[in-house]
Structure formats: structure tokens, C-alpha cells
Amino acid sequence: MDENLVGYLLHSLDEKSEREMEAYLASSAEARNKLENLRRGLEPLEADREEIAPPPDLLVRTLARVAEYCSQTLPHAPASPRSGGSYRNPWRRVDVLVAAAVLLAAVGVGVSALAHLRNQAAPLVECKENLHQFGIALNAYHEQHHQFPDVSKEVPPYNVAGMFVPMLINAGLLSKDITVRCPGNGPFKPTPYTLDEIHAMSADNFALTAPYLACCYAYSLGYRDEAGYHAPSYQGAGFPLVSDRSPRDQGPGNSFNHGGTGQNVLFQDGHVKFMTNRSLSFDSDIFRNRQGNIEAGCDPNDVVVGPSAVSP
């Protein structure tokens, strides 16, 4: 019976064991003495009994996280990358807010909570919307040219990854009003120059401009093998095409665009996924090639999405 003395003190026994213990204690002075010793022995724990208060916005942040998760995992409408049909982003920022509002509806938190939620969820979702726009334009470009924009065809030093944005705009496939600054990083910022303006620039001026052409985004650098350089072309749904750019210090972590939590990646079939690390099942680092360099991959499966000013 003694083995249940501690449980009796803590009310951890089931009802039957508790009744048995009460009968045992009633009949045994020695048991009562042991119980009293145990009670005194447990007393110091009481000093740390005070309830630990949760952060005031834990509820809202938790529901926001769930809503955000929903926005990243809902199935996408089937779409052929080169179908030419209109692409419908299946889950937009407003949907996340509606989903979160439903979750919040019964818990008595109000407008301020939704504002908080908007601040947290919006940049990630807006970034995804942005990448979807790139995806539509890139697939339309592929439809016309049978490959994605080949920045290597530009004369050096203009052959940098960020050129894919003015190339798409020049082809009439992408609006000039699209932002190349990730919404997680700051307000709207279009690519600064048209293709013609860029071609008219001196090399020195271009060196200053190149980092801002795609700004916060990175573009596939294709790959190079014995046969030469291969611009990015459609290889399959699992191949990244554009993503939040690598950390500015070129360190090993995630993009800084979303606070280092991960990066949105646009894949060749047009879907966007938030990746919490840099690896794919067939490629350990999407920001560097197998030799550890930020340049074209070493084989077709060696994906590298490079920042704006990098040449393949």
C-alpha cells in the first residue's frame, strides 16, 4: 500500500485506489506518519507552484500559424505548365485571413488580433502571390521559346540572373508593376530599368544596377556539362525556377526575406512551396552547386537559384 502514498498526496490515484488508501490510513498510525513525512518532503516544490503565464498573443499566433499552414498545403488546381490557360492561385492572402477569422471567431479576440495576424501572415502569402505571377510569365515564355529566359545570351557583364525580370517585361509577359522586393522585406519596388535602358548603360553603371533587377529573388542558373551551358528548361514539377534569394552573407541558412524561417520557392510547374530548408530530395542545396559555388549546376539535377547579380 505504501507505494500509493505519494499518489494519494498528489491526487494521482484512481478512485478505487484512493478509497483503499483512505481505509489503510484510517487503520494505521504508521501509515499516517509516513504520509505526513512525505507531505513535508514535498513542501519545497510548492515554492515553484506559481502558474506560468503564457505570452499574451499566444492564442492569436497559434491560430495564425495554423491558418498559414493551411495556405501552404492546400492542393493546387492541376495546371499544365505550358497549357497557356489562365492560372488561378488557389489560396490567396484574403483566404488565409478568412480562415484565421473563422478560427478566431469563437474565442473572443477582436480586430487587433486580426491586424496582428495580417502582419504576420501577409508577407509570406503576398510573396507567394508574387512568385505565382512570375510562374505564369515564365511558363508563357517557355511556351514561346521552348526554354525559360536564358540570361547567358546577354553580353557580359549583362548576363546575370536578375535579367530574367526585364526580359519577361520586355516580352510583354510580365507587368512592370510587379515588385521585385519580397513583401517580407519591405514595400513595393519594381525592377528599376527596362531592357533597352539596361543595354544603354555603361558596364560600371550596370554593376550598380544588377543586384536590384530581381532584388530579393533568385533565378535558376541552369547547368553546365561537357556539352556546354544549358539554360533552364522544363525538367519537371520538382525543379525550382525562382525563389526568395539566398542570405546576403551567403551563409548556410535560409533566406532573410522571411526572417530566416525558410524561403518560398516557385517550381517549374507553377506551384509555390515554402521550404524551411535549402535541400531537395535530389539536391542538398538549392543556393549552391555541388562544388559549393553560386553558379550554374554541375549536372541536370544540380539546381542552383542564384541572386540577381550572379552570372551562370
Partner: protein
């Protein structure tokens, strides 16, 4: 006049049942109901507020996504603790802080003598070893001594003493027999008594 939302008066099991049937508002009510209790558990167990919040959020993300695996009518509280505990262990493992299952754990699981040692120690002991400590100092001393316990003992102290769970629920959460819960609790209390006695001796020097 305020009108109570019917959901707020539902039992935990009714709430999860509603959520399982598609009433998404029930989910938020459950999160709010458990935010104090589960966060407190995780904060105490993990010893880190940021990590505790992260694991808390992951716990309810699991509830949201795995609701199909919830058996209607199953007691919700231990089910939530089970998910939270697994998430916490995963988080510790990712941080490299999870202690490997040791021979010591095998030993503690295998003997039944801890209670006798504990009772003997309390029987022969003098005044409260921590009687010199008070207030915040006492609290910190106690929390530090609990934190120094091996994970498998600390967990059972937190669940039984601070969270007030029944032995059977603790056994379910930790996936061990009820007898092991008892022996671990006795072993943990014995170690705490030893630690507090040591602290008292140190203060006297």
C-alpha cells in the same frame, strides 16, 4: 446582456467532436482553453519560453492536421499532453539536448527500493533543509533542482506534481506502465531530497 457561446461551455471531448465534424470555431476555443496549462507545462519542461511557444504551436498544428486520428470520446487532456510531450522531445532532439536513454533509466525502472530510501530519509531527517531559503531564492533553488533531474524523472514530477495528472494518464502520455510512473516519481523525489539536503549543508558552511 452577454450571451455565452455554446462552444465555451462544451466539454473538451464535445469540442474536439465538433471540430472533427467540421466546426472549425471549436478549434480556437480549445486552444484558448489550454493555452495556460499546456504552455506552463512546456515552459517548465523545456526551460525556454521561445522553444515552449514553438512547441505549443506545433502541438495544436498537429491537433488541427491529425484530427481524423482522434477517437471520438477519448479523453482530450491526456491526448493533448501526449502530442505536446512528443513535440517537446522532438524539439529537444533537434537541439541536441535530448538525453539518451541510459543505463540509469533502466536501473530506476527496475528497482522498487526508491520509496523505502525516501521514507527512511524523511524519517531520519531533521528540520526542512530549505528552511533558510525564502521567496524568490527558494523558488529558483527548487526549479534548478527539478531542472537538473534527468528528463525521464523531471517529466514525471512536472506531470504529477505541477500539472496534477493521474498516474494512469501519465502512464499513457509517457507510454510506460503505471508501476514505472510510481517508481520514477519516487526516484525523482529521493533525488530532490538529496539535492535539497546538499543545498542546505552548503548554506550552513
Amino acid at each position: 446582456m452577454d450571451v455565452l457561446d455554446p462552444l465555451t461551455t462544451c466539454s473538451d471531448e464535445e469540442l474536439l467532436g465538433s471540430f472533427r465534424r467540421g466546426k472549425r470555431e471549436a478549434f480556437g476555443v480549445l486552444v484558448r482553453r489550454y493555452q495556460g496549462e499546456l504552455y506552463g507545462y512546456l515552459r517548465r519542461y523545456l526551460g525556454d519560453s521561445t522553444l515552449a511557444e514553438d512547441v505549443f504551436q506545433n502541438t495544436f498544428l498537429q491537433v488541427y492536421t491529425k484530427i481524423g486520428k482522434y477517437d471520438p470520446g477519448r479523453p482530450v487532456r491526456p491526448w493533448l499532453y501526449t502530442i505536446a510531450t512528443h513535440q517537446a522531445i522532438d524539439a529537444l532532439r533537434r537541439q541536441g539536448r535530448q538525453q539518451a536513454v541510459s543505463l540509469e533509466q533502466e536501473r530506476v525502472n527496475g528497482t522498487g527500493d526508491e520509496l523505502h530510501y525516501l521514507l527512511d530519509m524523511l524519517e531520519s531527517r531533521g528540520p526542512d533543509p530549505l528552511e533558510h531559503s525564502q521567496g524568490e531564492e527558494m523558488r529558483q533553488l527548487v526549479r534548478a533542482s527539478v531542472n537538473r533531474l534527468p528528463d525521464f524523472l523531471k517529466q514525471v514530477v512536472i506531470l504529477a506534481y505541477y500539472q496534477g495528472l493521474k498516474y494512469k494518464d501519465i502512464a499513457d502520455i509517457m507510454d510506460i506502465p503505471v508501476g514505472t510512473v510510481k517508481s520514477r516519481l519516487h526516484a525523482a523525489l529521493l533525488r530532490l531530497q538529496e539535492a535539497w539536503t546538499g543545498a542546505s549543508l552548503f548554506q550552513d558552511i
